[in-house]
Chain length 246, copies 2
């Protein structure tokens, strides 16, 4: 008996942090990634309740497994766990939003500085250039979920080039949460995270101009931060979004 609610179509794929133990093809892993991606691509809107029973049915698994997944997602900051009330898709406050963007400013600034110092910047960031191409393409093709994911991955990709594994994990969580939040205010023609700005940053990087790259990144993040407002609830059919890959 699952709730009957609205629907948001979409295909899954993509990466998520929280590197843990379960073997690759396990149900737990699949559930974790599917929910993670669904949140990231905003097919599961903030404040949506994830009841354990529903997830048990969808993934045909025991409650124990569901609870582990929810705990992991809570550790990632993607869902809030309210005692005796259940798990809800996170909905960061505007205060948290401010902190998140400030932290990203600090980290991404440092990343750019480290990258610009390298000799062969051009070849190093080449794959990122390609990603931005895909990002533009996805936008033009109106593949919204894919576009959202790619515009987030731009930032984690840069972090990965820094070679600091810890920083990558941290950045990935930050980017995920900011993406989740920005998705709250999705308007039809809203270019939340422009690929043009992404390319401008890469340009500055290739010229070895760290300061310019940083300033452009600051502007870019600032623009994203400006689009932050609370969100309204809404009901959805979990089954229509999750667990369709088997």
């Amino acid at each position: 008996m699952s709730k009957t609610l609205k629907l948001i179509a979409g295909a899954d794929e993509g990466a998520a942090p929280n590197e843990t133990k379960p073997r690759k093809g396990s149900v737990e892993e699949r559930m974790y990634h599917e929910i993670y991606d669904a949140i990231m691509e905003h097919r599961l809107p903030p404040r949506t309740k994830l009841t354990e029973h529903s997830l048990c049915e969808i993934y045909a698994t025991a409650r124990h497994t569901v609870r582990k997944v929810l705990a992991r997602l809570a550790a990632d900051g993607m869902v809030d766990l309210e005692p005796n009330r259940g798990a809800f898709i996170a909905s960061p406050s505007t205060d948290e939003a401010h902190d998140m963007f400030e932290l990203r400013q600090m980290l991404e600034r440092a990343v750019l500085e480290k990258l610009a110092a390298q000799r062969n910047v051009r070849s190093v960031i080449a794959p990122v250039r390609q990603m931005v191409q895909q990002e533009r393409q996805a936008f033009l093709n109106n593949e919204r979920p894919k576009w959202i994911r790619l515009s987030a991955e731009f930032h984690t990709a840069l972090a990965e080039l820094s070679g600091n594994a810890l920083l990558v994990t941290m950045m990935r969580r930050l980017v995920s949460r900011t993406t989740l939040m920005i998705a709250s205010v999705e308007a039809p023609g809203n270019n939340a995270c422009s690929f043009d700005e992404h390319e401008a940053i890469l340009d500055a990087l290739e010229q070895g101009d760290a300061a310019l790259a940083q300033s452009r990144m600051a502007h870019h993040l600032g623009a994203c931060a400006d689009r932050v407002q609370p969100d309204d609830p809404g009901s959805f059919d979990l089954r229509s979004v999750l667990g369709r890959s088997t």
Copy 2:
């Protein structure tokens, strides 16, 4: 039937991240904080195994509770959870060590920049000055656990002054893990984290010289990072370290 092993005395107290649900005085909360502090103060050395049964006996609670605590500590990076093998006090590799210190460099640099920009720096950092006093006192009194904790709290205290809650949480985890790691190489006369250097940083800050403060912080962290090596196992009696507050 608890293991019979070596012993390291010490009193607990102090703060830990992972702000979650359980009510304040619960067994779960007590267990979490006691283990956290014991790790921080290096009364529980890296690679020590935490068997669920032992913790059940020590805290007279169900396995369920123990597992939740271990999961939280794992999310903090304080223990490693090996599938079907159990929970072990974390023992960061030298690679991780490098990443950790690099990340701290990035964040603490940004914190100092933000603090130095404030008008009334002197009054803002006054409480931190006092903390460093206590730190020196603890060292002179040979209160090693207290001293270790205070020298770690210096860094989290600065982060708190920045007013960014997310950054505080992040910094706290980083500092905890670096402290855990530095503790691995504790030699008798080893001043891992000097209060003199802490004071020098505050001095620069009071003069409004952000660059000097940053350079001193960089030197300070660099000095800490230099003392990093693997560690050997060792056996301990959990009961003698944990669960003595009731």
